[in-house]
Symmetry: C2
Subunit: 381 residues, 2 copies
């Protein structure tokens, strides 16, 4: 009882507590990489900590595929779960809110408050659906730079992201070199190869062949939940290591002692995946899944440059790059490629491969080991 | 021209040529592992080579998930492709039809001529659909043993299988110990762990949530092709190594020079997967996919024994066990587990790990390296 209480008190003391989501809107069109213009655009964002007078203590945290602007704290005391990177953000944590101003923005194309396919298309008064333009990682970053401008933040002390967040952080460091001192890239890659594209494609196909998808204009009618659940299950598999799955579920049956030899799911790992699929359907828009995975697949940090080294040559930031041994979605070799290119371009770069059984999700879960690495890197710039 | 001709002649000389599928039917019920009885049962099978007078030169080849009885040769001279293991079966090949009588049987639960969910349920006069009983690897093997009895084959010189075929071969060696001299287990496992079950589950969910599945009674109406295609694509990913996918497709676009930034598939690997999905739909029944993957997931070679070692203790056959370095569906450690158990049980076992970039599919494709291994093992018993 006493132990529990003290843990809770400690959490209360270091946690950012109750937070709210802010919204910023621009009427000026955002010119997208594919030439289309998007207007108006709204960005949902959250901030933790205080921007100092010199406005030079800002950290920008970029979220991954299924993430959102709610990175830390709770919207209400009754919220079951805090934000997605709560363990990293707070007093004395990796992103120390006593010292830094932490910002997290929902990407455009998303469905958690920023403009995306479920937003109203001003041309029709109806949700965009598949008329929403295909946005890229570059476009997501360009939108966030608008928000930095509005907040009066010229230079970020650090930009940090894992997975797709790492691509955004890299993109910002390359294409806005004067605006960032440190880029922290976790469990990410300079671009997708065939296997990464293939798994995303299967998820997209599952959504687009769901009879309820109806060409992307399903709003107001039944949602292609089965397709989205399948997509989520496929994606989720790539986030987990075989080791972790086996340790956690093995061949355990969910309820029975002996297999019932039926077509129904009986194994615990099946129930777990169904739960993952179902709970994702409650919080994510199938069209956003299409658009965001497309952005991932199209991303290539070296596009428009002679090479990845040339791309890094434009950056000015220091880099901290970390990978996780059992991550098979973005294995360590992807981070090694990034590191080698950064070094060849003369960048100041630190690379760490963490031994972990947690697969790709390690970047979200290995906060105890990431904290000193990241805190030191941020303090050093 | 001359080179092509000589290759063709050589193929003609060693190929089994034009073959046909045979059918055997039993009215006596087959008692299944789950207690249900199945009657009548029909088995589709093919044979290559000649059964000798002593009936002791038979090799039984067991097929994998999507395979069938058509292992070698062509049904008609115009067939675009020969049987699925044609490179291994013929004069002077691994399964030498000059010396051996090679038999391959479609599994029950399948959809290529043997009794399965698309067969007529005698109780209703309609296809079974999901009223078909759940069959197991043990049941598939029991049905094939019936065929051995009918053909008067007491003892197989060898039983050979890769993937699910390896499980059947193992099962036959354990539960019919006096009927087999050599068991060749390629790229297989004693049982599925959480990751293998999980990928199968996703495929099943894709089929069962397809609106056309209609509880499994879709015959005569629209087929849940989208679900089956998704299932096939997920499965196909587990058959390929990341290396091979990257080498073959990388980030190549299918038709364009530059990405078009659309929701449509543009990458070559996407077109490839769509093709895999579509072509599977043409030849496979979605319900059979459910039943056969369930059989895979339920299989546990040690079930009913104190341990896997005890299970091997019942076998009398020699074992040749082979794995492939880049197979991540049934990685080498699965074959090492089989080998260690066979050795601990005192069996005569040879284990080979082949270095290959071809992933799980290597067992079908690495025929040049498998041929001497398997031919020697068969000759030695």
């Amino acid at each position: 009882m006493v132990a529990t209480l003290s843990v809770e008190l400690e959490t209360l003391n270091t946690d950012v507590g109750i937070v709210q989501t802010h919204y910023a809107t621009w009427e000026e069109p955002l010119r997208l990489q594919n030439g289309a213009e998007l207007a108006p655009i709204t960005l949902a964002y959250e901030t933790y900590g205080t921007l100092n007078e010199r406005r030079d203590n800002a950290l920008l945290v970029m979220h991954a595929l299924s993430g959102d602007a709610h990175a830390a704290g709770r919207h209400a005391p009754t919220d079951r779960k805090p934000g997605w990177w709560n363990d990293m953000i707070g007093s004395g944590r990796a992103f120390d809110t006593d010292r830094y101003f932490v910002l997290c923005v929902n990407v455009i194309g998303g469905c958690q408050g920023s403009t995306g396919p479920s937003s109203i298309n001003p041309a029709t008064g109806q949700p965009y659906g598949s008329d929403f333009p295909v946005v890229t990682i570059q476009d997501m970053v360009a939108a966030q730079v608008r928000l930095l401008d509005r907040l009066g933040i010229d230079t970020l002390r650090a930009v940090i992201g894992g997975s797709m967040g790492g691509m955004q952080a890299l993109e910002l460091a390359i294409n806005y070199p004067e605006r960032v001192k440190l880029a922290v890239l976790l469990a990410t890659a300079a671009r997708h190869g065939a296997q990464q594209i293939a798994f995303n494609h299967i998820g997209r196909q599952a959504i687009m062949t769901d009879a309820n998808w109806r060409g992307g204009h399903y709003y107001g009618g039944p949602v292609p939940w089965a397709g989205l659940a399948a997509a989520r299950m496929v994606g989720h598999m790539t986030y987990l290591s075989e080791e972790r799955l086996q340790w956690r579920f093995g061949r355990n049956l969910q309820t029975q002692e002996q297999p019932g030899f039926s077509l129904e799911p009986e194994f615990a790992v099946e129930s777990y995946l169904n739960y993952q699929g179902r709970s994702f359907v409650d919080r994510f828009d199938p069209n956003s899944y299409l658009y965001i995975t497309k952005a991932l697949d199209y991303y290539d940090a070296s596009a428009g440059y002679e090479s990845l080294i040339a791309a890094f040559g434009r950056a000015q930031a220091r880099f901290l790059i970390a990978s996780f041994s059992s991550d098979w979605l973005y294995p360590p070799r992807e981070s090694q490629t990034l590191t080698a290119a950064a070094q060849a371009a003369g960048r100041d770069v630190e690379y760490v491969e963490l031994d972990s059984v947690l697969g790709h999700d390690a970047f979200l879960l290995e906060y105890e080991r990431l904290t000193p690495l990241i805190a030191d890197a941020i303090a050093s710039v």
